[in-house]
């Protein structure tokens, strides 16, 4: 398990380095930079590395919309014992549908989505889409495939639930008996 995590971490870091030396003029940024100072990158070509989460929305115009998160949960999710590092930091991305045809499912519960490096134009308050902000992806590299996460049932919780249910049952029985005798 530790080895897998280490491999993913290295892949993500290499991805970032690769992205830096990739397409000309593309600046490598994080989603937090785009969210906090989006105007600075408006209309620029940027590269972002992160996990695809949520859904893949394949629209009739041939585009696919999804969410890309650059946060620690892509490497160590909470289900795997990863640390709490605050809220997710995600942006909307649009890409040609064919880019997404072979992708693993997007990240959600017990599922880490594919980690990708995407390069495209940062559409900040795009006039054509009535002020929406998103990354219009032109090129795309898969950094790490999606993966399933194992979840082990917490038997202590089940045990406590069972004990409290038994106590509740006894109290309820006592209540019904007493009410009926009254």
């Amino acid at each position: 398990m530790m080895r897998t995590r280490a491999v993913i971490a290295v892949v993500v870091m290499l991805g970032a380095v690769f992205a830096c030396s990739g397409p000309a003029q593309a600046v490598t940024v994080s989603t937090i930079e785009l969210l906090e100072d989006g105007e600075k990158f408006a209309g620029q070509e940027v590269t972002v590395v992160g996990e695809l989460v949520g859904d893949y929305g394949f629209r009739s115009d041939g585009s696919m919309w999804t969410q890309l998160n650059s946060d620690s949960y892509a490497i160590r999710p909470i289900v795997e014992g990863g640390p709490l590092r605050g809220s997710n930091v995600g942006i909307g991305i649009r890409m040609p549908a064919e880019f997404a045809s072979d992708l693993d499912p997007a990240g959600r519960y017990r599922l880490v989505g594919p980690v990708v490096s995407v390069t495209g134009i940062w559409r900040y308050h795009d006039a054509k889409r009535q002020g929406e902000t998103f990354l219009d992806v032109a090129s795309f590299t898969l950094q790490a495939p999606g993966r399933d996460l194992a979840e082990h049932p917490d038997w202590v919780v089940y045990g406590v639930a069972l004990v409290s249910a038994l106590i509740a049952g006894v109290v309820a029985f006592g209540y019904i008996r007493k009410r009926d005798t009254k």
Binding site: V53, Q67, Y73, G90, R108, G131, V157, A165
Partner: protein, 548 residues
């Protein structure tokens, strides 16, 4: 002299509280079913624990209420006004406490306070959230967050009324900040409210799900999931969303439009809904009758129009029951006026700031955010960091819209349109009275589902609650400022918490100080119950300690 509550008072309260907790326990079977269907075993364990705690506390209270020394039997015992207020105030403290158990056990919260914060935010239909890594949260837990909106918005108490009814139960209904009795009995009123909610649920989920499936291209299962979650949050003016980017996740004007309709529906009072439905029913009744008659005529070869001879109703008639006088209501006029004014402020402010370069962008983003603020929903299509840059007039418009809120007896929070209308009316009447010659009579009548007179008592009540809301907003602002939050952001977040809105400029985060979290919890609680029930609870506890 304060009178210490008698043991029978405590048993009466315990009995009602116990029943309500059993209603919530029954509701918690839904996420249990969801977790089983989704094979989410750890959340299932936490839901089972929550269920057993709800049942345990509920039946223990019922058991205690049957103590042998009680002079009054359960059947004879009924709630008076004070009991009802205490029950409501305690319900809204205990339900989020037990309801936060699955959140605590999920590992997505840094502390019990954070989990309680989210449960209170869900139940009070606020929508501020401290959950971490929401995008990987189990779907059953996500469902529970949104179901809390539905339970809080439609009213746990109303569900209890529907099941138990009984003498004195109307006081519980009023304790939740509702005051419109749609039908003669409490139970029929509760049934009408739930019927309205269920019809909206069916239509809303289908509409949102269809847009998600057809337009957004989601799988049908996920479309249904998103439709259900967004419906709960929109119709109950909650503001939680299944993804961390809120409504911006969908990147769709159509999806936002359907959501906006549901947000507006949620901000309307149930009395408004009820009369609207009655009016629509009457308007369509002749058309249905005509259609039926024509179909019958096709087969029986009789004149179909004759079947309508007995119905002299014409569309556009003003009905005696006011079904076509909704736009004459003081509340309707008040909310339309404040919505237009705050929208204008916000739009002009955004134009001055130059945040949006296109009219379409300004209109869509500005309109959605202001609608979300005024209805008390709290959905956002822009990130909180960007919302923090909406300064000047845009900030003023948003803050005022959040503070004013929706209609009375709706799921929205804030001062409420009726109180705003009554306060403005009282002030204008006073000014008119001063300007007119001595002895001149000023018409103090106003229309709200019928003619009423604006008495000094009604005006005072509206003004007192409005002032209490201002004090509540200032409290949260002061605490946030003491932690170094800039004034504008502190005020925005405080109004958002106190008026049960849920929009955030980034102050609300897991990293904020515990005292500020507790302050916002208190604001959400007090704002949702509109003070009275909480004050009665404080008085009750005080009289238990100091009374004789």
């Amino acid at each position: 002299m304060l009178i210490r509550p008698a043991a029978d008072d405590l048993r009466t309260i315990g009995s009602a509280l116990g029943r309500i907790l059993l209603v919530v326990a029954a509701a918690s079977l839904i996420p249990i079913g969801w977790a089983v269907a989704g094979q989410e075993w750890n959340p299932l364990g936490s839901f089972l624990l929550m269920l057993s705690v709800f049942v345990l506390v509920g039946v223990t209270l019922l058991r205690v209420s049957l103590a042998p020394r009680s002079k009054i039997s359960t059947d004879q015992r009924h709630l008076d006004w004070g009991h009802g207020m205490v029950v409501v105030a305690l319900t809204w403290l205990i339900v989020p406490l037990i309801g936060s158990i699955p959140f605590v056990l999920s590992g997505h919260y840094a502390s019990i306070v954070d989990a309680y914060f989210d449960a209170m935010s869900g139940l009070t239909t606020t929508g501020l959230a401290l959950v971490q890594d929401l995008d990987h949260l189990a779907s059953s837990l996500n469902f529970w967050r949104h179901l809390l909106h539905f339970l809080g918005g439609q009213g746990i108490i109303i569900a209890a009324l529907l099941l138990f009814g009984g003498r004195g139960m109307m006081t519980l209904y009023r304790g939740e900040g509702r005051d419109d009795q749609l039908l003669p009995s409490v139970r029929s009123t509760a049934r009408a409210i739930w019927a309205i909610a269920m019809i909206h649920l069916a239509v809303g989920v289908v509409a949102l799900g269809a847009v998600a499936w057809i337009v957004l291209g989601f799988s049908w299962q996920r479309s249904l999931f998103h439709g259900l979650m967004i419906f709960f949050a929109a119709f109950d003016t909650g503001g939680f969303a299944p993804q961390s980017t809120s409504l911006a996740y969908y990147h769709s004007a159509i999806f936002e439009s359907v959501t906006a309709v549901l947000m507006v529906a949620g901000a309307l009072s149930f009395a408004f809904h009820f009369r609207l439905w009655a009016g629509v029913n009457r308007a369509w009744k002749p058309a249905f009758a005509r259609f039926r008659a024509r179909v019958a005529a096709l087969f029986s070869r009789t004149d179909g129009e004759e079947a309508l001879s007995g119905d002299d109703w014409r569309p556009g008639d003003r009905r005696a029951d006011g079904s076509f006088s909704l736009f004459e209501n003081l509340e309707t006029r008040s909310i339309l006026a404040t919505f237009l004014a705050t929208m204008m402020f916000t739009m002009v402010g955004l134009a001055v700031l130059g945040i949006y370069t296109s009219v379409a962008g300004l209109s869509r983003q500005g309109f959605f955010q202001i609608l979300s603020a005024h209805t008390g929903t709290g959905f956002a299509t822009v990130p909180s960091a960007e919302l923090a840059r909406w300064t000047g007039l845009a900030f003023g418009g948003m803050a005022i819209a959040m503070a004013l809120g929706g209609m009375a007896s709706s799921t929205a929070g804030g001062v409420k349109a009726l109180r705003v209308g009554l306060t403005v009316r009282a002030i204008t009447d006073e000014v008119r009275n001063d300007l007119l010659p001595e002895g001149a009579l000023v018409d103090t009548g106003y229309y709200q589902f019928g003619r009423h007179r604006l008495t000094p008592e009604v005006a005072r009540s509206a003004m007192v609650v409005s002032l209490l809301f201002v004090a509540l907003f200032l409290l949260g602002t002061g605490v946030a400022i003491s932690y170094g939050v800039p004034l504008e952001q502190a005020l925005f977040e405080s109004v958002s918490a106190g008026a049960s809105v849920g929009l955030s400029v980034g102050v609300t985060s897991p990293a904020m100080p515990v005292v500020l979290k507790l302050t916002y919890i208190f604001q959400m609680y007090l704002g949702r119950l509109e003070f009275v029930a909480v004050f009665v609870l404080i008085g009750f506890v005080y009289s238990m300690v100091r009374g004789r």
